[in-house]
Structures are given as C-alpha cells and as structure tokens.
Amino acid sequence: MALLEASDLSLGYDSRYIVKGLDFSVNSGDFLCIVGENGSGKTTLMKTLLGLIKPFGGQILTGDGLKKKDIGYLPQHTALQKDFPASVREIVLSGCQGRFAFRPFYGKAEKQLAFENMRRMGIEELKDSCYSKLSGGQQQRILLARALCAAEKLLLLDEPVSGLDPKVTAQMYELIRDLNKEGLTIIMISHDINAAVRYASHILHMGVTCFFGTREEYLKSDTGKLFLMLKRGGEACA
C-alpha cells in the first residue's frame, strides 16, 4: 500500500475550484517533486495533504501507518510578528512537539535531535539568537531544521530553497537527497525545474493539464518537454 494516495482530488477555496480530478500516489522512499506556474495550486495541494484545508472532492488515503506526527512541514510563508521573542533553539525544538503524546517536556532524545538538525543546517552557533532578528535565509534554515525534527517518515517542503544563496541551495538539495536515501519520503514544491528533474523520482506537474509519473515519463511527455523548454529557454534569455 502506498504511503499517500490521492484519487480524483478537487481543491479550492471558498467555492472556487482550483484543481479538479487529481490522481497520484507516493510510496515510501519516493522523492516527489511538484512543479507548476504561480497560482496553479501547489501550496493548496500541500495544505490539503496536511489536513489544513478540506478537499472539495475525492479522497486522500494514507498507508504504512502514516500518522500526522510522522510528518515534517516547511511552509512557503510563515507570517510572524516582528518582535516575537523566540530563540532559534526553542523554535527548532518545537518541531519535536508531535513526538510526545502525553509527556509534558522535551527529553534528552529530542534535544539531541534538535541539536543534530541545527548542525546539519549550519545554524548551531545561532542557537541563542532571536529568530525574528535573523535574515530571511537564516530563518528559512531554522524552519527547515524544525521540519526535519518533525519528519519521521514524510517531509513536505514548500519551496525550500527560496531565499537561500547558491552555495546553500546546492547544499540543501544534497541534504534533501541524502535524507531521501536514508529512507525519508519527500514531497517538494519547487520552481527549479532543473533540480526537480535531477533529484526527483516522481514528478507532479500542476497546471491546465496535470501530469503525474516518474521522472523518465515526465521527460518524455509533452507537458514535460514544453515546460522544460519554456523554463530553460526563459532562463537562457535572462
């Protein structure tokens, strides 16, 4: 049974449909990349998968004993107040929140995990800084460390590299691939089509016509060819 299976999924807000009849499935160990234009409903899909928004129709089945507490999530935007008093350590630790059902406090294991993820993201020396006073890229890395703390089986990333410099972006992709190799299932939204076809095992293209398949199938499909050409052409011109 697949980890996640969406059948005939329709998404939208209020009474406006954004996507209709979406079918795809994610198996344990997959690396699914979601691509598509601005406003095509990628973030909406991710929020629906997380249970934050109700789908208009269709259903999402979960398998392999996937529970909410096994999921890590990096939001596209985190609207925070400017003066929110929270240290980096506190925020990363809050990713371990779902792990304890009835225990009130963080144990050694959680603190260790938080520290490891801060080291992975290269932010351990920031651990006592105030989150709201850091740069956008630093904040992004902190939120990624938090997501890693929460992700036991599945990691959902909404544009993880936005705001990161090229060096850290490359590191980030390597890191995500390593995590995937260690057995973590990954669903990532990205506008970086090159990275998508390089790292992903499956691709979900959202737009007027939706496409779902393996990377190889996508590269052969008309949707894929057209999108790749447009994107790469656009980048070559720019």
Binding site: L50, G51, L52, K67, K68, K69, I71, G72, Y73, P75, T78, L80, Q81, D83, F84, P85, A86, S87, R89, E90, I91, L93, S94, G95, Q97, G98, P104, F105, Y106, D128, S129, C130, S132, K133, R146, A150
Partner: protein, 281 residues
C-alpha cells in the same frame, strides 16, 4: 516606616491581601505573553466586562457564592470569543466589543434596578476599580484563590511546550499532529480563570493592564520565550507587592497603585531595552 508595615502585617486581612496579590500577579503574567503574541490582548478586557455582568447578576440573585456563577459564565464566553477569533467570516474584534460593552451595560442596569445596598456608586466603583475589595477578603476566598492559582500555574507548566508551539506557529503545530483546538480551548479556559481571579485584585477595568504590561515590559529586554515568561512573572510579582505596600502606606486604592507600578516598570524596561540595543552594536 517598617514599624508601620510590621504593624499592618499583624492583621490577617493584610496578609491575605499579599498572598492573593502575589498569586494573581503571577498567574496573570504567565499567560500575558501568550495573549500579547497571539494578538488576543483585547480578550482580557472583553472577558472582564463579562465577569462584571455575571457578578451583577449574582449579586441580584443574592447568591452566597458568586464564583459559582461568574467562573462558568466567563469560561464559556472565553471559549466562544476565541472561537469567533479563529473564524475569518465573523469579525472577532467586533464580536468582542459587542459582548463586552453589552455585558457592562447590562450589569450596571441590573445593579441599578435591583440595588443591593444603599451605596450603589461605591459598589460599582469598587467592582470596576477593585478599590477596597482586596483588603476585605475572607479566608474562604483566599483559599479558593490559592487553589485556582496553583491550578493555573500547574497547567501552564505542564502544557508550556505545547503553548509555545501553538503560539509560535499554529499551522505547523496542527500539521504535525498537535491538537491545536484543544490547546486553544485550554488557553481560553485558563485566561477566564485568571480574569475572574484578578477582578478581586484590581477590579474589572484594570485587569488588562495586569495581564499585558509585564509581558510587554519583558519583551523589551529579552528575546527568548522562556526568559520573557520568567521575567514577566518576576516583574508582575514585584509590581504587585510594591503596589500593595505603597497603597497601604499612602492610603491609595490597591488596584490602581499596582497598575501604576506596572506602568512604571514598563517605562524602566523600555529604557533598559534601548540602552541594551545601543550598547549591543
């Protein structure tokens, strides 16, 4: 002056006032940080007016134990108000304004139609500003207050990490399996208990000050959630104690003196924050 204080301390009602003052100041400051950060500062105000209305009803009904009515009414209102705050379709602030002003008017109206004592203005004034009530507490009220405060502190400590997670990023907490709705309900219930408790100390018009000032002061100086919470608890207790001492020595009303001390502390903390930022770079 110490002799005068010592003499006052021989009276049990002064000791009660100190115990209750410290406990309430501690409780109200704990959740102040959460309320300020969740943009719920106004809810304390709304709830205190609801509690005032409930108190008027209790007085008219001649209930022997007013708490039995005030506490549940305020808890239910808190839950309803936080609910509407989450629902984008109903304007949360408008709902709060409606309920709070309505309750205030209704309470005053009731007290006027069914006067329970000859000194109506004095009664109203003391419920609104908590003028003398702090020095007229009975032993039973002190015990109740102590039990409720201990419960509030315990709940806060046990759920501290969840409260932090929900306050910082509710969406993430919800997505990763934290029961955010239960958490919000808990926060609402605890706030209601604190408001009802604090009515004894500063009266219903000044409660917001007690809840919000220590948190805002602490946020001027510290930048992690834990240090802000601890600092605001300390500040609040210090201000309450000095406020009560001053009010006894100078004969000023306890509630407004405490709030004045909180305002002064805020001024000092703002200054300290400016200096800290100035030397920081």
């Amino acid at each position: 002056m110490p002799d005068k204080l010592l003499m006052y301390f021989q009276h049990p009602f002064v000791r009660y006032a100190f115990i209750v003052g410290v406990l309430i100041a501690l409780c109200s400051s704990l959740l102040g940080v959460v309320l300020v950060l969740k943009r719920f500062s106004y809810i304390g105000d709304g709830l205190s007016h609801v509690a005032f209305g409930a108190m008027a009803v209790a007085a008219v009904m001649k209930l022997t134990n007013e708490m039995l009515l005030i506490l549940p009414v305020t808890v239910i209102s808190a839950i309803l108000l936080l609910r509407t705050g989450q629902n984008a379709k109903i304007r949360g602030d408008a709902a709060i304004a409606m309920i709070s002003v309505g309750a205030l008017a209704f309470g005053y109206l009731l007290m006027n139609i069914f006067p329970t004592s000859s000194n109506l203005t004095g009664d109203v004034c003391s419920t609104l500003f908590g003028s003398a009530s702090i020095l007229t507490l009975t032993q039973k009220e002190v015990v109740l207050c102590a039990i409720l405060s201990v419960a509030v502190v315990l709940v806060f400590i046990l759920f501290y990490n969840r409260i932090v997670a929900v306050t910082f990023d509710e969406t993430f907490a919800k997505a990763t399996g934290v029961n955010t709705q239960a958490c919000n309900l808990l926060i609402a219930a605890v706030i209601a208990v604190i408001i009802v408790l604090a009515m004894n100390l500063v009266g219903s018009l000044l409660i917001s000050a007690l809840v919000i000032f220590p948190a805002l002061s602490a946020m001027r100086i510290f930048s992690s959630f834990k240090s802000v919470t601890i600092c605001s608890a300390f500040l609040s207790v210090i201000c309450a104690v000095s406020g009560i001492v001053i009010s006894i020595l100078a004969g000023t009303p306890a509630g407004s003196t405490i709030v004045a001390a909180d305002v002064a502390a805020f001024g000092l903390c703002s200054l300290a924050g400016l200096i800290k930022r100035g030397t920081g770079r």
